[in-house]
Symmetry: C2
Subunit: 414 residues, 2 copies
Amino acid sequence: MATRRRTSRDIRTANRYEVLRQIIAESPTSRQELAAATGLSLATVATLVGELLELRLITEVGFEDSTGGRPRGLVAVNASGGALIGVDLAETYVRVELFDLALNTVARADEDVPPGGSRPEQLVARVAAAVGAVTARAGVAGARVLGVGVSVPGQVDRDSGVSEYAPNWDWHDVPLLDLLAEHLAHPLYLDNPLRACAVAEQWFGAARGRGDAVVVNLGTGVGAGLVLGGGLHRGVSNSAGEWGHSTLVLDGRPCHCGDHGCVETYVGAPGIMHNLRELSPGSALLHPGDQTATVEALARGVAAGDPVAREAVRHTARYLGAAVAGLVNLLNPEVVVLSSWVAATLGEPLLHEVREAVARHTLRRPAAATEIVLSPIPTDPVCLGAATFALEGALSSSSSSSSSGRRSRTAASS
Amino acid sequence: MATRRRTSRDIRTANRYEVLRQIIAESPTSRQELAAATGLSLATVATLVGELLELRLITEVGFEDSTGGRPRGLVAVNASGGALIGVDLAETYVRVELFDLALNTVARADEDVPPGGSRPEQLVARVAAAVGAVTARAGVAGARVLGVGVSVPGQVDRDSGVSEYAPNWDWHDVPLLDLLAEHLAHPLYLDNPLRACAVAEQWFGAARGRGDAVVVNLGTGVGAGLVLGGGLHRGVSNSAGEWGHSTLVLDGRPCHCGDHGCVETYVGAPGIMHNLRELSPGSALLHPGDQTATVEALARGVAAGDPVAREAVRHTARYLGAAVAGLVNLLNPEVVVLSSWVAATLGEPLLHEVREAVARHTLRRPAAATEIVLSPIPTDPVCLGAATFALEGALSSSSSSSSSGRRSRTAASS
């Protein structure tokens, strides 16, 4: 196993990302403002801005009103200079979004995955068709698509573009990017939803400008994307973040992973249904076999003051808070972000209960240093994050000959 | 809260550490060998070696036997060029060790802390006396001591040298380095045992050359020192690693932190006594009120084939394995190191059971990427790590005007 150590090139790449992030967040802006916002020297910022201009990711847009002194040149993101595509291959649906370079959604395609329709070739054909559809709908020439980021649940090998293990579909070592490259000519990037959500928060959400952040992904599955020391923490085999299978209740509920008492069995959507069933087996809130409907019913129930709904959310938050407290104690992050559809649906009432539960389970000082917030990202963070991997890929591949994590059609079919 | 982001200076410092680590591990060595071992360019290595020579931490020791070609200059650690002192301020004892620059122990002083003897002024006086004693015993002039690293349990503020909270002594915001500076003229560095053990493994033990490593500290208290991306992970308020207070058994055993079911209550030395008592209340292995004697009796019992001892270790490993599996799933490290006196005392039989338990609780692929080992460091890793902080301080302070984490007598008393 090769040693992973940060190098000067990593720092240069991270600085490039940070300057572009700042320009996307606040356009137009000057090199001076960028230096102040990022803490980088004006000389470094000037070099990085020059590179971004050359890549046509940003443009010069005139000069700042000067109050005496030399006028300052302004730059802005070149939103229409290209397009990025994010693909969220989820358990029950495929979502494809096309973004401009300011990462605004321009076009979207959603498709349900019918039961029995999750063989790799079937999903690949759906993705390829959806990518074609959003590109046509957005009126974007294929050549202007800088890349397609694909998120697939489970464990992935980014470098080879292989889905090593996707438990819900029982996929083993599926060469997903090679299959996709038979349909798509764009550079392709593979990763999983945990890391897609983390990178989305890092670029556009609550982790922006934070050195250490944990993005807790609450959906059908549960995980934690880690931003540490200003970068995404991947681990030695790109599988960091499998927090959903940490033991919370030794010998507790059976989990589909084969173990017992995993965090996911208490706070993932099926776990929340379990919590509700334990509390009130005949509850009208329960929609057997339909996680989404049940979680939505719970959210409506809480809003309407339904005591069973409130108690079910409190129960869930009690589990979630104990587990999140473990992350706070272990990692001492600046922020914990609750992300994905369960967090978005249950919203503030869940957040409130989780904060109280975390406070009960953490040491006082680390707890005081950590904010706990809901994701502020209004769209699908997985699509956004997947597109961001494509943007990072475009930024990295232009600065080096290394194509780690990047597959072009030519490379893939060779 | 300031953003913590890695900078080019961090990389330079990390590279300097790595080159010195490699020279300490293998002296004499050539610049070419160092470049091969570290993956750094020969030019970078040559610059760093020049800096280390100037600091007199290493010396030129002649030339390699040449098989034709130009002879290669050899360098070696300048063991006698200075001294480093490590202080392990533990719950029940104070240990002070003086090291040469190859980090060999030259002199040691141990003192018990009697009950009621843990007021800050009392401990500070003991430490100062012990530092004086080891310096005299080693025949080292005070001026040649490059620094004194001090480890104190609990939460510490490195920059201000304050022990923010030490639960066992009920210390709150004790200005430990200021108090010590009244007695000692050496540069002083404060941190806690979790991070001391982690940095000891990173420099001299099982984490050497590894990008991501977890050092699990098993003593009276329990924690996890984290080496991530090649550097020590401290978190936003330097309190990362408080893994002992993660929930393993929701609503389980009461913990002295005020919570229930914390990892520490099952696998710390008092937790192990609890496990044994549950299994066999009248066991002769149990030495009430004496953790050390009990853990040693267990180790002897296992070696002698005592079924109760074996079962108690298996029970403990079952808890520990489930908790360590959570670290493996979350962080995907290259190595997990079991460190501190409980791990050293229970040794291989504990390791064997822990490996089996971890395998039962981890996902297959992350588990396959992680080694689990006992700490190979033969001496007190806390003293060694504390001295290493002083070495790192000497290396950093000479390269910049920043004195973060470093307090000289002058600075402290101003």
